[in-house]
Amino acid sequence: MTTVQTATGLEQTMVLNMGPQHPSTHGVLRVLLELDGEIIIKADVDIGYLHTGIEKTAEALTYSQAITITDRMDYLAPLSNNLVYCLAVEKLLGLEVPKRAQYIRVLLTELTRIASHLVWLGTHAIDLGAMSVFLYCFREREEILKIFELVSGQRMMTSYFRIGGLALEPPAIWTDAVKKIVRTFPSCFDEYEELLTKNRIWIGRTQGVGVLSAEDAIAMGVSGPSLRGSGVDYDVRKYFPYSSYDEFDFQVPVRSEGDCYARYQCRVAEMRESLKIVRQALDKIPPEGPIKADAPGIVPPQREKMKTEMEALIYHFKIFTEGFAPPPGEVYQRIESPRGELACFLVSDGSPHPYRMKIRAPSFVNLQALQKMVVGHLVADAIASIGTLDIVLGEIDR
């Protein structure tokens, strides 16, 4: 126990344990706050309560099977996890994905971004006391989850992307549901902004709180809106475009203040930009075309062919029993998840199982910055800082 001389002459600090069970830590996070009165002097973050050994498990599965365990890491943006892993395997194989599948991937990933930011906004607001925003955000998110269920059968853990494209052909009516979202969401975003952006209490709780300078953010490896709120415009979709993102016209919102309010503005603006991308993707997706690459030993053949043609049956059998083996080598594939730079480092040794699958989780790296952000602030500001980093314990602990 350290002792410190305080203004009132008291000499002892107190260690306050926050979590792992706590409504505002957004998961099973434990933070040991060393307090001098109500001011935080030091924050020690303890993670690992959700560690399930996903990376170790992947080494025992085949490349196709491993897609299903990637969903559960960042469980608020499962399609992003699917995407980064599928892109990494496709890079390892040197496999080209058909354009139609790429555009559908972009559309669904941007809907995932909006859904994830809606959860962030709702939970961040309710942590700070604005309870109605939570209900409105979840009402809108429901529409997006209905679309995921329509195309993949699953609301959240979709595993909809496969090596070489998509799992299934989406039903023809799905574009109507997406068009409805594109039509109705802008006014919903205006509604949230009306409740929060000029609200004196919101401004008081978020401006000047959790300030992170650009130098500190870069040194700590922070990425995503947490970095862009501090003035650095690093967005993987612009820096290293993947899955045809360079064909879409969108802005990357950046603010310079580096506090919670700046990150709030970045994320709300990002939701609007994502909607722009969804609108463009709707126009770009051709009504017909392949949704999987034509790669006989890697991408399973269509079921009708498998039931009538001998080669197709043999390929199907080999893919689902022993799996396919990429050439030996390593790739590092990064994407822009709602939380920042999500990357998959995949090591192949020429066998059908990933030799090493490392997922660089943006929340894991961003959470390090928390220890710097809360020093000198009140306990209530620690809540705001945790919320503003938009962490998901699933990807922190894996």
Binding site: G48, G221, Y234, F240, R360, F364
Partner: protein
């Protein structure tokens, strides 16, 4: 050696060669990604050079990854994934460590973000980082025995 002729033209490699040619133990190029294999002794000087040099400016450390190549020696591989924000360029550094008592200097003073990455690698692989300010387990309980991501640790866990 998996060096290909066009790697000689790569400006990053040329700069490193001009600074200290023996820093590059090997070069690997695969799917458009460049990896510089460096020895344990040269790792920290090379890292400091890559950060401080204005034309390289690899100030952003994206990730540190450990790989266990058991039973091949050197057993462990550490990969440092670097990014230069100003030049939108990437590079990977690789160090190989022996299986018997794997120790390597910590790079926290070069990239502060390495703090938690190194802790996680210590937790799951048992590689020790000299000079790390706070090297202790983070994902597993403090009293856990064994290093799960090693290849000789069973997938089902300790049973």
């Amino acid at each position: 050696m998996t060096e290909t002729p066009d790697l000689e033209q790569n400006p990053n490699i040329a700069k490193i060669r001009a600074w200290r040619p023996e820093a590059i133990a090997d070069l690997i190029s695969f799917r458009g990604e460049l990896t510089v294999v460096v020895s344990r002794e040269n790792l920290r000087p090379l890292a400091e050079f890559l950060v401080s040099d204005r034309d390289l400016a690899f100030t952003y450390l994206s990730d540190v990854t450990g790989v266990d190549r058991f039973p091949i020696e050197p057993r462990f591989e550490l990969n440092y994934h670097l990014l230069s924000l100003s030049r939108r360029d990437t590079l990977r550094l690789r160090v190989r460590l022996p299986g018997e008592d794997p120790v390597i200097p910590s790079l926290v003073s070069v990239w502060p973000t390495a703090n938690w990455h190194e802790r996680e690698i210590f937790d799951l692989f048992g590689i020790r980082f000299e000079g790390h300010p706070d090297l202790r387990r983070m994902l597993l309980p403090d009293d856990w025995e064994g290093y799960p991501l090693r290849k000789d640790y069973p997938v089902e866990g300790p049973r």
